[in-house]
Amino acid sequence: MALQIIVCVKSVVVKPPKRNKVDRSAGSIDLNPFDKPAIELAVRLKAQFGGSITALTMGPKSAETALYDAMSMGADRGILLCDPALAGSDTLATSLALSAALKKINDFDLLLFGVRTSDSDTGQVGPQVAELMQLPFVSGLESIEPDGQGFKLIRLIDGFVEEFKAMLPVAMSVHPSAVVPRDSSLSGIEESFEVKPIELIKADELGLDPGVLGEAGSPTRVAGMKKIPKEKKCEFIDGSDTDIAAKLLKVITETGVIS
């Protein structure tokens, strides 16, 4: 049973904007760390069942680096959905564009996402895409194994193990604790840049009304962003050992560290 797997990934910004300008140069962006377990899981599933892995991202040209990273880890090819018309997309417009792109790409069995992104933290894109594509969706996947014609999907939630059975195709977001992502080997990097292909998809290929894409198609907008000043206070506790212990206990219960 060869599996056709698509992993949706994002190039995230890892440095805070300077003077309200987002810096997307190579040193300031990275593959979303929450996508790495999804790629790792895909690579392991491919090793087990055969098939192929496609990494898909929507973003500016620089988002290509996320595809190269995914291919260095083992994805077979990358697809960059990139167009000025897509700039300013919120999660809904992003999900619409991604689901339209997914319909253009080959059929797939598994559609993987990270649970969230380190620079936006909504966790909405995975479930929205699944909904738009009418696919079953399991969030925070812990493990997956074949089960008859389909797959058994396990997720952990508040001290319970939840088990789902799904027929293919199925979409899921992968919990960060599911697998430890591998480091890219040098030959992985070499292949990623020298051998594996990246395909470009433009907005007009999606067959969607421009009004639903980009900023125009985004019901939400980031109105502003400011840094939260971190206040660090250092307090010395004196007294006898018993006094110190009692005061310390008071502080850590009051701050809610323990109850």
């Binding site: 480091d183 990097i189 840049f193």
Partner: protein, 383 residues
């Protein structure tokens, strides 16, 4: 080239190796220096990531990367632990590379894959007690005996000596032929008569198991002769041309680490009610360090790119090695100065960088020998 360095493949290589070294190597760097211990666990992980077959073609178990990529990998490993950078550069460039370049098909198939996969570690055994800068003065002998040589050798200061399995021995196959009487034999640890000496108690690069290696009436099959008899010095010099770029990259990595530590420290340490980074004297040092490290890196990457383009690069590699090694010492020295007394204490890493940097001016050709090589090139070009 510059684009690819800023983003693209070379940026990805640097980032990937740096992330690995920050997580796996840096936390133990002080300890493996203190204990002079070889970090096998880390080395096994590095092997899986192809760090022991950087430029070896894929078919033979490596990653098939170019020289520019190679210098970036070595720089990043050395930034975390100089002695581990040494292990990797010597293994790749003066042990694996000569077999690739001068070995016949059987030798390549037999010796290269286990080396490239890091299952075995390589060493380069040229220096002897009476032959350092003057490699033609070696006394090790290999006497022909049917389909074998009987080899007697006393090699000193062998990088990786304590852990290496596959060693290139420079020996005299013709005692009367002077420089042309030297040959290279591949000798495997475990061959009867192969004896590893005590580890050298080095000032720096302490996690590397530098030792002497001796061969006592050791029977080495003739099929282990690299190239032909008499090609030894040619093979050695050719390997060192490549090796020098690795040593230069290592020097840059140590300098980079020293510069970063000095910068961080200067922002934290307060004297006269202000971080010392606000004192102009400290800023001058930071500026000099930053500039010199970039200049050294640019020379290394230029030499590497010339080799990748198939151009002659011997002079450029020598210049890069000379400049980067002297830069490394100077920058590490400034980093100690920025730290004041704490820089002289083992509690801070710059003390280690200072020791590690020093030897890059000595091995794989001293600074003096490099100046001789460069001067000869420069004068030849003018003729």
């Amino acid at each position: 080239m510059i684009d690819k360095l800023l983003d693209g493949k070379y940026h990805a290589i640097r980032k990937s190796v740096r992330d690995f070294c920050e997580r796996e190597v840096k936390p133990v760097a002080a300890e493996i220096d203190k204990e002079a211990s070889f970090p096998w666990e880390i080395v096994e992980k590095m092997a899986k990531l192809n760090y022991f077959g950087i430029q070896t073609p894929k078919e033979l178990g490596g990653s098939g990367m170019d020289t520019l990529g190679y210098t970036i990998v070595v720089e990043e490993i050395a930034r975390a632990a100089g002695g581990l950078g040494l292990c990797v550069t010597v293994h790749n460039s003066v042990a694996v590379y000569p077999i690739m370049a001068f070995g016949n098909d059987e030798q390549k198939k037999k010796f290269v894959p286990p080396l490239a996969k890091g299952e075995k570690i390589g060493a380069f055994c040229l220096t002897e007690p009476n032959a350092g800068s003057d490699a033609s003065g070696i006394e090790a002998t290999a006497i022909s005996d049917g389909d074998h040589y009987i080899v007697n050798a006393n090699k000193v200061f062998v990088t990786n000596g304590g852990v290496a399995d596959t060693c290139l021995f420079f020996v005299r196959t013709d005692p009367d032929a002077g420089r042309r009487g030297i040959s290279v034999l591949i000798v495997e640890r475990g061959t009867p008569g192969f004896v590893a000496g005590e580890l050298e108690d080095m000032s720096g690069m302490r996690c590397n198991q530098v030792s002497s290696l001796r061969l006592y009436d050791c029977k080495v099959p003739k099929e282990n002769l690299l190239g032909r008899e008499g090609m030894g010095l040619l093979i050695g010099l050719n390997a060192l041309d490549v090796g020098r770029m690795g040593i230069a990259a290592q020097a840059v990595g140590i300098a980079q680490a020293a510069f970063e530590e000095a910068t961080k420290y200067s922002m934290q340490r307060k004297q006269f009610n202000t971080p010392i980074a606000n004192h102009q004297a400290i800023q001058m040092m930071l500026a000099d360090m930053a500039t010199q490290v970039e200049a050294a890196r640019a020379l290394v990457q230029r030499a590497a790119s010339m080799r990748d383009k198939g151009l002659p690069f011997s002079k450029e590699a020598a210049m890069a090695k000379l400049f980067a090694s002297e830069t490394s010492s100077r920058v590490a020295d400034m980093a100690v100065q920025v730290h004041g007394g704490y820089g002289y204490s083992k509690s801070y890493p710059v003390e280690r960088y200072y020791r590690d940097a020093r030897v890059t001016r000595i091995y794989e050709g001293t600074a003096e020998i490099h100046r001789i090589v460069i001067a000869k090139n420069v004068l030849d070009e003018m003729e």
